[in-house]
């Protein structure tokens, strides 16, 4: 722990490999040159951002959070407030403060502010919630999500309540999404090797020893909560630009479970797992969709009935978890050398 | 009974290639310092922690990797460390938990009733508190309860982890007195884990000494008490192989 630069050097490979992987996916999309496929790739990068954001807290603390999509909601609406044309805000969201109605920022600046806004709220909620542990903490985070959802679903003149907020500039090129996903990976890595991240993981693995050695658990958790809240907010901001509409119910149970599932299937305790979980499940979804749309074999077309995709996805998830209860990556990280088990120190991940 | 058993927790090896056998009606003390692998051994026999290698036989069955409830049905009663009473159940309910496994046998009800009477006779204090919550019993009473509970099913082998832990000396005496008496009455085989060998030497019988997951000594308890090797093994003088 004392020798941080060396930890950074030893573990730098992980975010680098993951970034290269993401770039490879992006290049495939470019090569394909199909608009729908481009949009699919944007979706994948968004999910990578969200799941990596979730990993920062859930992976390092071991506490399951059902609340993080709330921060995505906060980020998405903040981005909407900052980028919509003032005219539209005046009519659709008249309850916003004057200065906010007047302002119109480019999407990247709005995304940064949205991330900070989400992080701010993560700090507020975290201050209250982080003294809880285990399942009580999980439920409390869910209660937080439900509160955010209820407020955003009903605050007519500030969030437009359940109606879609429109007028958000749409960004259809993949690069900003790729960059944000890579930034998220590096933020997660930076947090994981920071003093706070190392302490938090130590406490996750050895709770008794950690409290004996004076680790201030609520504080370390709060740091992770705020960082991950910020990343989720960033993902939310980009999400709003990917389709140009936001509604509160987009950011509720469905997305919560999708992201959690991807994290757990990938490996809850591993950054590589977070990314791999998204890539594997997303690819699987894509293949199943392709099969659903129909595949021509010779003269006959073979198509799965609609709805089989979701059922198959659920079954595959159960099978993966049955055979790899701690996810595809377990607790390990990708590294240049595949011999992670032979060299436990290589990733800086205490086992 | 045990042959070549190895137990691992993750990367930690708790018991290394231990072989051990017990005769019917025998009393065996397993002693050794903290972390010697004594409790792990017991857990392996009871099926709680399946061994990573080797084989466990009990009552003429290969029980390696079998479920604890199956092994219990063959006649093993284990009392794990830490007096695991069911705190929210009453004393009597605690005693009755395990009796269901013989429910299909004839005269089951009568036999449960007489077993209950026997336990109450042995530990009269339990009878007084029979309808009280087990979680509210004192440490000594809880120890009596778990031992009594282990005897309810008429087992062939009773394996007890640290019966004297945390008990007042006079209570320990009482517990041992009962155990020895029961063994004589019922031709019970006893396997008792104790950190201290003093008790074993006082009670007599066979004793093995474990350290670092291996059996160092095996022999008559009283005889071993006098040996130099014992002292050395216990306190870690001399290099370990």
């Amino acid at each position: 722990m004392s020798n941080r630069p060396s930890i950074a050097r030893r573990t730098l490979a992980t975010p680098l490999i993951l970034s290269l992987l993401l770039i490879a996916f992006a290049l495939v999309a470019v090569a394909a040159g199909s608009k729908p496929f481009n949009q699919t790739m944007i979706d994948i990068f968004l999910r990578v951002t969200l799941v990596v954001g979730l990993y920062v807290f859930v992976g390092n603390s071991g506490v399951i959070s059902f609340g993080h999509i709330g921060f995505t909601c906060l980020g998405a609406y903040a981005a909407a407030w900052l980028t919509m044309p003032p005219m539209m805000k005046q009519t659709l969201l008249p309850g916003l403060p004057e200065w906010l109605i007047a302002v119109q920022l480019p999407y990247w600046a709005a995304a940064v502010l949205a991330a900070l806004w989400a992080a701010l709220w993560a700090a507020v909620f975290g201050k209250i919630l982080m003294r809880l542990s285990g399942i009580a903490a999980s439920i409390a985070t869910f209660a937080m999500l439900a509160m955010i959802n209820t407020v955003y679903s009903n605050w007519e003149n500030v969030t437009g309540a359940t109606s879609s907020v429109v007028g958000i500039p749409i960004v259809r090129t993949i690069w900003p999404y790729l960059i944000v996903a890579i930034v998220a990976v590096f933020i997660a890595w930076g947090h994981a090797i920071s003093r706070a991240g190392l302490k938090l993981r130590a406490a996750r693995d050895e709770p008794t020893a950690a409290s004996a050695s004076g680790i201030d658990l609520p504080r370390e958790r709060l740091i992770a909560f705020v960082v991950s809240g910020g990343v989720m907010g960033l993902g939310g901001a980009l999400f709003s630009h990917s389709i140009g509409v936001v509604t509160p119910d987009t950011f509720y149970l469905g997305l919560t479970f999708t992201t959690l599932s991807m994290l757990v299937v990938g490996g809850m305790g591993s950054l590589s797992g977070a990314v791999i979980g998204v890539l594997v499940l997303s690819t699987l979804i894509q293949v199943l969709r392709w099969l659903e749309a129909g595949v021509s074999i010779g003269t006959s077309t073979l198509a799965l009935p609609n709805g089989v995709q979701e059922i198959a996805l659920g079954i595959v998830m159960i099978v993966i978890l049955a055979f790899r209860p701690s996810g595809l990556m377990g607790n390990t990280e990708l590294n240049w050398r595949r011999a992670k088990t032979a060299d436990p120190g290589a990733s800086g991940q205490p086992e | 009974m045990l042959s070549d058993v190895t137990i691992r927790y993750g990367r930690l090896t708790a018991v290394r290639n231990v072989s051990l056998s017990l005769a019917e009606g025998e009393i065996l003390f397993v002693t050794g310092p903290n972390g010697a692998g004594k409790s792990s051994l017991l857990r392996a026999i009871a099926g709680v922690t399946p061994p990573a290698g080797g084989r466990v036989d009990f009552a003429d069955h290969d029980v390696t990797g079998r479920a604890p409830e199956d092994i219990a049905r063959l006649g093993l009663s284990m009392v794990p460390e830490g007096r695991e009473v069911f705190g929210s159940l009453t004393t009597e309910e605690n005693l009755l938990v395990g009796t269901g496994m013989h429910a299909k046998e004839r005269n089951w009800r009568a036999r449960v009733a007489s077993a209950l009477e026997e336990v109450y006779e042995t530990f009269p204090v339990l009878k007084e508190r029979r309808h009280g919550q087990a979680g509210l019993l004192s440490g000594g009473q809880q120890q009596m309860l778990v031992i009594g509970r282990a005897l309810m099913t008429n087992p062939r082998l009773v394996a007890i982890d640290e019966p004297s832990l945390g008990l007042a000396p006079n209570v320990i005496d009482l517990v041992y007195e009962r155990l020895i008496a029961l063994r004589a009455q019922r031709a019970l085989t006893l396997l008792i884990v104790e950190q201290s060998s003093t008790r074993a030497m006082m009670a007599g019988g066979r004793m093995i000494l474990m350290r670092g997951g291996e059996v160092l000594l095996d022999g008559d308890a009283r005889a071993m008490g006098q040996s130099e090797a014992m002292q050395a093994a216990y306190f870690g003088y001399g290099e370990q192989a």
Binding site: G314, L321 | P68, A72, F86, L89, T153
Partner: protein
Amino acid sequence: MTAILQTVFDALSLGSLYALGALGIALIFGVMRLVNFAHGDVIAFSIFALLWPSTDVVAAVVAGNLPWFLLIPFVLAMGAGLSVLAEIVVFRRFRNASPATMMIASFALGFVIRYFLLMLFSSRPKSISLLPALSQPVEVLGARIPLLQLITILTTIAILFGLTAFLKRSRFGLEMRAAAENFTMARVLGVRANRVIMGAFALSGALAAAIALILGSQTGTADIQMGTNVMLMAFIATVIGGLGSLPGAVIAGFLLGAASVAMQVSLSIDARPFRDAFVYGAVILVLIFRPQGLLAGRGTKERV
């Protein structure tokens, strides 16, 4: 006065639903530390079992036309059956997995059940006339309340007494309570793990089916999402009640129902849509002050 009485009945009947749901979740959590997110889908399945698979708009009622004394056992059996099947096919493989893994597996299973129903029945809610005799108002102490509300409350109380008696008096109940408190120790004493767990799943499934019956008769609708809301509230009730504590789950279920109704009655019209935010805020407060729940389950060690 009658308004107050009516409100009390409202709170009790809503609380009954949550309490039954919480019991179903707590039972399974007790024996295998599984937070069963498929519970809501078991509720939906139990009611759809009354219909013949068809994506037509009009529900093809088959088993739903049975007389009540056959219909009720049929639905209960469906819930219990699916639940036990889920245990055998899925959850048995997760006995040693971490709570997070089990939770996600249960969610994935729920997902499969939901989309299976969707494929068979389409997403349009089906209208059913379930136990129509119950949709009449009755007079109680001057208040005219729906008969179903009364039956819901009475049934819940009956189920609670029945379950308590079963757990206290029967051998199986004893084994289940012991297993809920210390699963390994119970096994060491010869309690059959599979039997107890399957029993818990069967009971939990039957409770889910009971909720389905109540919801079905109350709403006249079979909807794929119908169990979700009850399940979430039940899940919260289980935690506030103290995980592993069955009485705690029941009490917390009734408290949540009461809180929800009290807010609906007392909030101003502008604040009323925000009702749930207040309810969830109260949940957070309870957790902050009693992280172990109102009645902490003895011997329940935190594992998450």
